[in-house]
């Protein structure tokens, strides 16, 4: 079952001479149990696509179905099924990590007892027990990222959209997050944007490469390497995106 279905999303910014096509008809699906890497150079349209998928931005056309609910027609149903870690993990610095997670649990309509259980779960999953009662503004970048990840998981959504989930983490923390994602992928659909190609082979079943707002490749990491004629995923990425830039 496709828990995430992205259907011909289009987004333009500006007007007249300043009109910029950020995303040009991007489509893909992510079934339950799959981790999909969303790759592309800076400015390729990754974050804009993710923002449309999560309902933060309205697409000019196209749609995304989250667990069957349309993000344009049934936004609240769709967002209830979605956990989102935004680029840079924007958080409320004045709140403690615990207060932040309680805020998110409340905003997702969790009852007090559900919130208690959910807190225990995400504190353990994101390994933030040592900093749970500290103000977020005093935390390191890595811990802030993990609090953001815990926030995305608080309502146990079936679909996760994670924009650079390991950004700012040390190698041990990265490894831990990869394991967490691998475990969660059993019953969720997970879309991950990353620049770290070693992560793609390590934790993603499939990769979609976007450049200039359009998808230029879609397949398993090994398949992308084979198709591009490169030796590594990094080589494949360079080949795929460089060709687009030249054309």
């Amino acid at each position: 079952m496709d828990l995430l279905k992205v259907d011909r999303l289009v987004k333009r910014f500006g007007a007249g001479a300043n009109l910029k096509h950020a995303v040009r008809g991007v489509s893909f699906t992510v079934p339950r149990g799959e981790v999909l890497a969303f790759l592309g150079p800076n400015g390729a349209g990754k974050s804009t696509t993710m923002r449309m998928v999560t309902g933060y931005l309205e697409p000019d056309s196209g749609d995304a179905l989250i667990a069957g609910a349309s993000i344009t027609q049934e936004r609240r149903d769709a967002q209830l099924s979605l956990g989102y870690l935004a680029e840079g993990a924007p958080l409320y610095g004045d709140l403690t990590a615990r207060a932040f997670l309680i805020f998110l649990a409340g905003a997702h309509g969790l009852t007090k007892s559900q919130t208690r259980w959910a807190l225990d779960r995400v504190i353990q999953d994101a390994r933030i027990d040592k900093v749970i009662d500290r103000p977020i503004e005093t935390l390191s970048k890595g811990y802030k990222r993990r609090v953001g990840l815990a926030g995305a998981l608080i309502h146990d959504p079936p679909v996760l959209v994670l924009d650079e989930p390991t950004d700012g983490l040390d190698p041990n923390q990265k490894q831990a997050v990869r394991q967490l994602i691998a475990r969660m992928s059993e019953d969720k659909a997970i879309l991950i944007s990353t620049h770290q190609l070693d992560e793609v082979s390590a934790m993603c079943h499939r990769a979609v490469v976007i450049d200039g707002g359009s998808i230029v490749a879609d397949g398993a990491p090994a398949e992308l390497i084979r198709q591009s004629g490169a030796d590594t995923l990094e080589g494949a990425f360079q080949t795929l995106t460089r060709e687009e830039i030249i054309s």
Partner: protein, 281 residues
């Protein structure tokens, strides 16, 4: 991190199924939609109230507001020289102080979310935009209400000094609170429109000044000279000041009540529109 630690990380706790687990929530029912809307609203309200009192903002605002109100009432209004057991002089300055202080309280409500990038967090919550708007508005209004509540020693003082019409004073307090709601709703909406705290403050003070000064006799006579008496009366009807005058005299006017409620609803509607429009960009 050791291998053992790595392996234990993320070990799942036995948790009860949440309302949003993959298999039981394809669509929200009307009841769960209503509960979720209220939950989002109260969460935003609580978060904003906490933000006000976590930082010195609310304390500074309330202290300066009380000092300024005291200075205006006793020094400029000559409260004791009037030798009257009522609070009409005290209430006279409320609109003018709200005009400056309430934009200062409300300017951060949306502008700070936009600056910090947390608007993305809010707009991806499964909540209607209006519930976020109302939650933020109520938090700003609650700070205004707390400031107003702390002026009640004035009420006690006039009761000690004489025999005031307490029903009239209670009415003036109620209308002052409603009027404060109008200023907060306006300032909060302009915070969403401007997206920058300083610009939001300037916009709100300017807009508030226009909608307050429109009730001054000087402005009314100027408008009457230029556009005729009907235009002058129409202009006066849209002023915060006009609808507060009757309440200061202890008279409850239905149209004043409707005016303040209407102003709040109108600005909350504009606020919802301006936040929603950010989705398109």
């Amino acid at each position: 991190m050791t291998q053992a630690q790595s392996e234990t990380m993320g070990a799942n706790l036995k948790t009860p199924p949440l309302s949003v687990s993959p298999d039981n929530h394809p669509h929200m029912g009307a009841e769960s939609r209503r509960r979720s809307t209220i939950a989002a609203m109260t969460s935003i309200f609580g978060r904003e109230l906490r933000a006000y009192f976590y930082t010195p903002l609310a304390y500074v605002f309330i202290s300066v507001f009380l000092l300024a109100l005291g200075a205006f009432t006793f020094e400029i209004g000559r409260f004791f020289d009037a030798n009257r057991a009522d609070l009409s002089i005290f209430f006279l300055f409320h609109p003018w102080l709200y005009l400056v202080f309430l934009p200062a309280v409300s300017m951060r409500l949306w502008a700070e979310e936009i600056r910090a990038g947390t608007l993305e967090l809010l707009l991806t919550l499964p909540a209607p935009v209006w519930s976020l708007v109302v939650g933020k508005f109520l938090a700003g209004w609650a700070v205004a209400g707390a400031a107003l509540l702390l002026t009640t020693p004035m009420w006690i003082t006039v009761n000690y000094l004489g025999s005031p019409d307490n029903a009239a004073i209670a009415l003036a307090y109620l209308m002052s609170f409603l009027m404060a709601g109008g200023y907060v709703a306006m300032s909060t909406a302009l915070s969403a429109l401007a997206g920058n705290q300083v610009v939001a403050f300037v916009l709100a003070v300017t807009t508030g000044f226009v909608f307050t000064a429109m009730g001054l006799p000087l402005v009314a006579s100027g408008v009457a000279e230029l556009f005729g008496p009907t235009a002058a009366e129409t202009t006066r009807l849209f002023s915060f000041l006009t609808h507060f005058e009757a309440a200061q005299r202890g008279v409850l006017e239905l149209r004043a009540l409707l005016f303040y409620v209407g102003v709040i609803v109108l600005w909350l509607g504009l606020n919802t529109l301006w936040v929603s429009r950010r989705r398109a960009n």
